[in-house]
Symmetry: C2
Subunit: 396 residues, 2 copies
């Protein structure tokens, strides 16, 4: 301990330091943190900047710190919680492993059965969501060939996200919605909703019938895989794709005119501000608006970068083509996996839904709390007494 | 014209230059840009990087460029469109003026009447949305004191955004939802949904009744005004508030656990990547998660920065307090204006709704197309022939 920080030794060589003000602000006692709502109650702004503990004591389960005040305040921090939240230095936590894939995924694409997913309280739903998390997509087989069953499937993840196109949708190729998706044309690999501030997180779709015609194969491309190729081969292009924001619009209908906020838009590749990890791909060249804010000196480089991106995206090594048939639905992480289709003739009836990324992540977290036993959600003494989520949950 | 660019002179001293590849990519003829869906049809990636025009000709209304190909392709760009989209150099366009305010706004807060807003095809709705755009909030007076009328009012902007709390909501102080909002406690100025990737854009609320008690005044604070104070007085703190992402959670209910994506979160102050303009305030200290990714060297500075932010936010000069009464609803831009309330006793019945920022901006754009005549949406010759949105719209 010095006048600013408490040091905690994990072994003879590894230490973490925690600032006094940080510790006081993160007290999780029921006076400082509401045990039900999990909201902060302590007034952060009244903590004296030069606060010093009265005592610091190592207990079996964690660190106990006594703070000066009219009645001394006692805070307790489990060792596992401190270690997981070490910021000085940051200690690498194992995040979910993402599996990047190219065309060879066709040999064993992630698939679950409808029945598994629909079983109440079963781990089937968790398996489905874990597949989406790892691969960015997952098939669901043996789905009853009806919009009703497909809608129920979507709602296993969370509520369906409403857009200008409605909630659960069904469509045929009639250009009813002012977007080329509603035609019979081929569509290159793209993500949906580049014209939204927060593009829909998951997209589920299910081919209900295709009569009097052929074509319409489904294309899936792992945007994270393609990004890794571009990063390896052309780091300066990767940098431009990560920096230059692209404006976009959905303006095919009279009564709406969608653009992201702010309207300058977002880069093709989005990253976590702290870790630098790639977190989002946004790509639909058809919906791109006027590049009115492109830096003049970058025009040629930027066109070269998107040409290279397009070329990696459309390479046979990246493209996974599959002819879907009624009964097999596919769900896609629209922040990672791009989709498209080949042209078709005849009449196709499709249905599907969007689900928000936040709803997906929420459900995945709730199921992880339930099924992952090493997730260390609860400190030992709480296990039997506390039915609610622990204040030490790694998600808080 | 040189081998890369066409130069356009606006007057003897002002010029814009447009790269050939940019011009070809932005051709708006019906072969290159779908006139109904407003989506790009030209294959950007097949444009030769060294493309040169065959001819460039100044017409009365705009620039005509002929491109080499088996059958030469002719593109036309109206002068007004070129000028508006000049990127080399960028020409400043007049954006909507925001009016920043402090406590003195109480002398004439923006207000519209329910009847105005509800009149079909009338400009009342546009006036309401313009007020929200300029001030970040607007009162609506003479609202029938029912949830039904309030819901209809909300739907004038767009569809109501669904969240884990439902769609249109009504509540009393019963902690039914695992959040302190559902108590009788005072709530400091905050924005809602810091735990979402895209916090709701607008929040409408309406006090339907308050019986057997007093208190519960409404607090509004212009986050953009407070940010301007901090920027002026403490630029280094403004910088930290703009750079350090804050994780957040909504974890008071068993069946959901919301966090933004990526979970590192977002800074208090969000800016347009290109213009540097302040575009979003996110602030709820109660919902802040563990600051596990804070840079060790910034801990003290960051706590100082949020203390200063809090102090400016809670200064009497910033706070606008108003005692709402049944019949007056208020709508807030939740990306700009913070809200709170004083403690109360007795029973309060409130109702309201969230609306997405994208839905608000879409409606505002559609009404601007309709009511703003100098918006230059159409080139002259199109005015009579074309009922649909122009391909030269400034929104595309």
């Amino acid at each position: 301990m010095d006048d600013k920080r408490v040091a905690v030794g994990w072994d003879t060589r590894t230490w973490s330091r925690f600032h006094h003000i940080w510790l006081r602000d993160h007290c999780r006692c029921s006076e400082c943190f509401h045990p039900t709502t999990k909201q902060r109650l302590v007034n952060t702004f009244e903590i004296p900047p030069d606060l010093q503990p009265l005592h610091v004591e190592s207990k079996v389960d964690g660190l106990q710190v006594t703070w000066p005040s009219t009645t001394p305040h006692v805070s307790f921090y489990p060792w596992s919680w401190l270690r997981r939240n070490s910021y000085d230095p940051p200690i690498q936590n194992t995040e979910t492993e993402k599996i990047l894939w190219g065309s060879k995924i066709e040999q064993s694409p992630p698939t679950v059965k409808f029945e598994e997913v629909m079983t109440e309280e079963g781990p089937g739903l968790f398996k489905w969501l874990q597949n989406i998390d790892k691969f960015g997509f997952c098939f669901v087989s043996d789905v009853p060939v009806t919009p009703e069953a497909t809608e129920k499937l979507a709602e296993r993840v969370g509520f369906i996200r409403e857009t200008q196109y409605g909630k659960f949708w069904e469509f045929t190729s009639d250009l009813s919605k002012g977007d080329t998706a509603y035609t019979t044309l081929a569509l290159g690999a793209h993500t949906d909703n580049t014209y939204f501030t927060d593009p829909c997180g998951l997209q589920l779709f299910h081919l209900l019938s295709h009569t009097d015609g052929t074509g319409g194969a489904t294309l899936l491309v792992d945007g994270f895989y393609v990004a890794s190729l571009v990063k390896e081969l052309h780091p300066e292009m990767y940098d431009l794709l990560s920096r230059v924001p692209i404006p976009a619009h959905a303006a095919g209908e009279h009564e709406s005119l969608y653009r992201p906020s702010p309207p300058s838009g977002y880069p093709v590749l989005g990253h976590d501000l702290v870790t630098g990890e790639l977190t989002q791909v946004r790509w639909n060249n058809d919906d791109r608006s006027v590049m009115r804010k492109l830096e003049a000196g970058l025009v040629e480089d930027w066109y070269n970068a998107i040409r290279t991106w397009h070329s990696c995206l459309t390479s046979p090594d990246s493209e996974y083509w599959i002819q879907l048939t009624p009964g097999t639905a596919v769900i896609i992480n629209n922040h990672r996996v791009l989709h498209g289709r080949s042209a078709f003739n005849g009449k196709r009836r499709m249905c599907g839904a969007y689900i928000g990324m936040d709803e997906f992540q929420s459900k995945l977290a709730v199921l992880s709390e339930k099924f992952v036993h090493n997730i260390d959600l609860r400190v030992p003494e709480e296990k039997t007494h506390q039915p609610t989520r622990s204040v030490w949950s790694p998600y808080l």
